[in-house]
């Protein structure tokens, strides 16, 4: 049998189902697509960001969604001098837990800073959204946070 007679068939491994992200997570992701942040009001009045469908502390249902950010404060940070292949940034960056303005819990994201000396716990940062046309309603819609008034 000549090579030209070898049969080929494409096999694509896929998960052909979709899942709704629901009224709370979905609202947060949709807001990201719009270049905004929202949080959920917990049963004790705290604002949970990113929002969950239940209060992570009391397990009660959460209340109304409120707008937060886009600026915030670094609660803790870790400097990655050698990013891994799937990290959101491929040049040295910081992971940080960031409490957005108006929120009472912190969210994890990357901070694009020129070096570890540019960051400290308590540093103010703000979100750098991707261009509107590139946003899809996912965490990656925020390319990274940057230091407020910083060079990057």
């Amino acid at each position: 049998m000549a090579d030209s007679e070898v049969l080929h068939a494409e096999h694509r491994l896929e998960y052909p189902y979709s899942r709704s992200t629901g009224p709370v997570i979905g609202a947060f992701l949709t807001a990201l697509r719009d270049g905004r942040f929202v949080g959920a009001t917990g049963s004790d009045g705290r604002v949970i960001v990113p929002p969950t469908e239940y209060d992570p502390i009391t397990s009660d249902d959460v209340g109304e969604l409120v707008e937060v950010g886009p600026g915030g404060v670094v609660e803790s940070w870790a400097w990655v001098s050698h990013p891994l292949r799937k990290h959101p940034l491929q040049s040295p960056f910081a992971w940080a837990l960031i409490t957005l303005d108006g929120a009472n819990t912190a969210m994890l994201h990357a901070v694009d800073a020129p070096g570890p000396d540019a960051l400290a716990t308590g540093t103010r940062v703000t979100a750098r959204f991707r261009p509107e046309a590139e946003r899809i309603g996912a965490m990656a819609d925020v390319e990274a946070f940057v230091v407020e008034g910083g060079a990057s």
């Binding site: 803790s76 870790a78 990357a110 570890p116």
Partner: protein, 359 residues
Amino acid sequence: MSAAARAVRPVSIASFAQSQNVRKDDERNEVEGLMPVIAEVFGNIGITKDDVDFICSGSTDYLIGGPFSFVMALDAVGVWPPRSESHVEMDGAWALYEAWVLLQEGEIDAALVYSFGRSSLGDLSEILTLQLDPYYEAPMWPDIVSLSALQARALIDSGKATEADFAAVASRSRRDALSNPKSQVANDIAPEVLLQDDYVVAPLRRHTLPPITDGAAAVVLAAGDKATAWSDRPVWITGFDHRIETHSLGARDLTTSPSTAKAAEVAGVAAGKVDVAEIHAPFAHQELILAEALGLDDSVAINPSGGALAANPLMSAGLIRIGEAAERIRSGAADRAVAHATSGPCLQQNLVCVLEGGA
């Protein structure tokens, strides 16, 4: 509810065995790696698989990269005629908990618990990301070292600990591991020397990280007549509990471990003097958080085995803590011990087991 308020059927850690912990076991599959461990855990007390009424294992398909790998692993025991069997996608410490709960019901008197995992088969920095929140965290692929570094920084910022304290934990653990023939990383290096290591993810330096380990472990639990028949000095479980915190990392105070504190309270850790504590702290700074949450003072010997900094076989490192603590009691070196296991990022879930030596 306090431990004293609960009617607890005495269950003994009748036997414990673990494999040699190694960086990469690429000559044996999971069944071949488990078989000598199972043979040893039975052989220690002269029993066979026919003497146990229940089998429970802990492992994760994400390490081997294939579904239902725990079913294949049962070949290491041999399950014909059919056996009553269960599995948790968790560290073997939680498999032991499930078996202990079944023993509480009083219908069986002995159980085999085992766990296994080869961390070397994949890239843990990616595999462990899959345990995170699938919408807010996992899509960014934050690796376990980075998340632990966020916790370490928070601990430093809180004023509770310094990098030198982390180095002291690592130095002591790996020095103690010199007397543990099953350990993977054992050495005697002073903390001030360790502090010259480079950062992996600042503020975590190389020495504060656990090794990547392939290994397996097994325990036989016994109650009733079997507990006393199989041991001259039964090691009784006198308190047992596990608790979990929210999966929202940013909603937690990472410098404390309220789930450990709650489990310790329910398990009755403070009801007597603790001689030895085997704490499952994969990262050096986590031992400091856990020791505080468990309420341990300076008189307690922490991780004489070397702990997870000396060998961290995923899915077994928690079960090994229970086994190591039990062996200290069986040998007479301790009368009362606390064993701890953790799961999830930054100590999200914690299990506490109190052990006491009997007559």
